[in-house]
Amino acid sequence: MSEDGREMTPVIECREVTKAYGGGRAGRKASVRALDNISWQVGGGTIVGLVGPNGAGKTTLLSLIAGLLFPTQGTIHVCGHPARSLDARRSLGYVPESPAFLSCYSARAVLKHHAALHGLSREAIAGETERVLSQLRLEEYADRAVGGFSQGMRQRLALAVALLDNPRLLLLDEPSNGLDPIGVIELRRILNEVRQSGATVIISSHRLGELERLTSDYVFLHRGRIVQFGRDERVEQTGHLRVELLPGSPHVREDVLAPCSLVEQSDTRLVIAVNGIEDVPGVVSSLVGAGALVTGVALEMQDIEETFVRLCRERAS
């Protein structure tokens, strides 16, 4: 274990993974590289958000880790086992974007069926089924046919299936699709419980605000490449300092603010890009030294959504 309590053995280890679709047998059709030479490691006990625009390769990456696709190049290990191996699949739970079940089965029957596929005994199947029904608060719907379930209910049931037998790795592809606000809050509660149990959660989601409240790390994917990975220092540290000035305050030159930069200036307001909260006293002191009549300051840290947009712009340019 490391100092912060995370396991040292990577739960996911991707080495130089490339995934190309199409191309045809004779290579007549151009192949599309959904993932391009990705190397990535994830330790235990974290919730990692996969962020990227449509077609960035998020679902492909999750599918490769889950063993549903074969990498064109490179290797993937889950908990030290090659992806798609039985040991790897024993270690993971997977929630697809649009989960499908046999419509004539009840939720309880679905869970018992999947618990049986884990090779559990009859008693363990019953115990695990009731545990996840209770954890996902699905008891009320346990004996209803899945065919009548809403998208949100299917999503909850899929999460219940994925949590059977306490996997070390949980892969969630757009898990909040179809969930109402209460469902999203429930999801957050469950995932935090899962993390506290030491498991690793990988979430792909378009709802960036939701990820921000859940994840401890991000992976930004763009056109099949990892643009940024790890605890996002820039997300945590960069921001805008809004400075309110008295009318008639003298004009502020940008060089006074170095190394920070001026984003916006009016008679009564300045917006300054700072690299963190520690820059604030220096900036305020410089402004006062330059004769600015400061009446108030407010620091607005950059959120994941802004970072995502910035990274996409940077990549596009």
Partner: protein, 244 residues
């Protein structure tokens, strides 16, 4: 429990299967009631054609294709179960359904024959065996086709393929019986496709005990071959996101 879950799923996956079994059984008393039934009518032959050859096409419809089309396969394929096990248990589910169905058919025929005395029960036990063997061969072939064909199109694919394969053979045998092409084509169909005529011969008692044993072995070997091909296809298949 794993085997039970998968085997029972092959019957429970569509609520219509209960009606299919009942409908198939209901056909027998209806035929018993036909006024123009010949005295030499073979009940075993009917069971072979109706329950042995046609029933597996219906029961195996979409056995993997439905899961692939709906995306459910993505949940199954991430569970800690070998894909070969998945295939084998599903095939066993079909085979056990066939065994139970054929036993019910046999009991029904014996009862109706006892009541009416119509038709013939010659070599009935051989017909039951032949029916179960041909069911298994068709079921394995259909299950393997279902690995690569989406939804329940595997059944229609098999029906069309059978017409495409057997119709030219019928024409060749009719008009060019002595041609080398006909003989080669006939041999390929006879030994490579589900052995309908060979097992029908077994039911009719055309073969000696040794020949009958060889025919049973041939049928089982074909079932294993079709199954092995399906397992290889399943293991090498990617399960992409898009569900249709």
């Amino acid at each position: 429990m794993k085997a039970y879950a998968m085997i029972s799923e092959t019957f429970l996956r569509k609520s219509s299967f209960r009606l299919v079994h009942l409908g198939w059984l209901l056909a027998y008393p209806l035929i018993f009631l036909m006024p123009s039934l010949p005295e030499t009518w073979q009940w075993g032959g009917l069971m072979f054609a109706w329950s042995g050859c046609l029933l597996p096409i219906v029961l195996s419809a979409g056995i993997f294709g439905d899961d692939i089309a709906s995306g459910r396969i993505r949940l199954l394929a991430t569970e800690p179960i070998h894909l070969s096990e998945l295939y084998i248990y599903r095939f066993l589910g079909l085979s056990l359904q066939a065994a139970a169905h054929l036993l019910a058919v046999a009991a029904l025929i014996l009862l109706l024959h006892g009541l009416t005395g119509r038709g013939s029960l010659d070599r009935f036990a051989s017909w039951i065996l032949a029916s179960w063997l041909i069911f298994n061969t068709w079921a394995a072939l259909s299950t393997s086709v279902s690995v690569v064909v989406s939804r329940d199109h595997n059944s229609m694919t098999l029906v069309l393929a059978t017409i495409i394969v057997f119709f030219p053979l019928y024409m060749l045998l009719l008009f060019f019986q002595d041609s080398m092409v006909t003989q080669v084509y006939h041999a390929i169909v006879r030994y490579g496709c589900p052995p309908v005529d060979i097992l029908a011969g077994l039911g009719l008692g055309k073969y000696s005990l040794a020949e009958g044993g060889a025919n049973v072995a041939h049928s089982l070997a074909l079932t294993v071959l079709y199954g092995a091909a399906g397992i290889v296809l399943l293991k090498n298949r990617e399960f992409k996101y898009a569900a249709d």
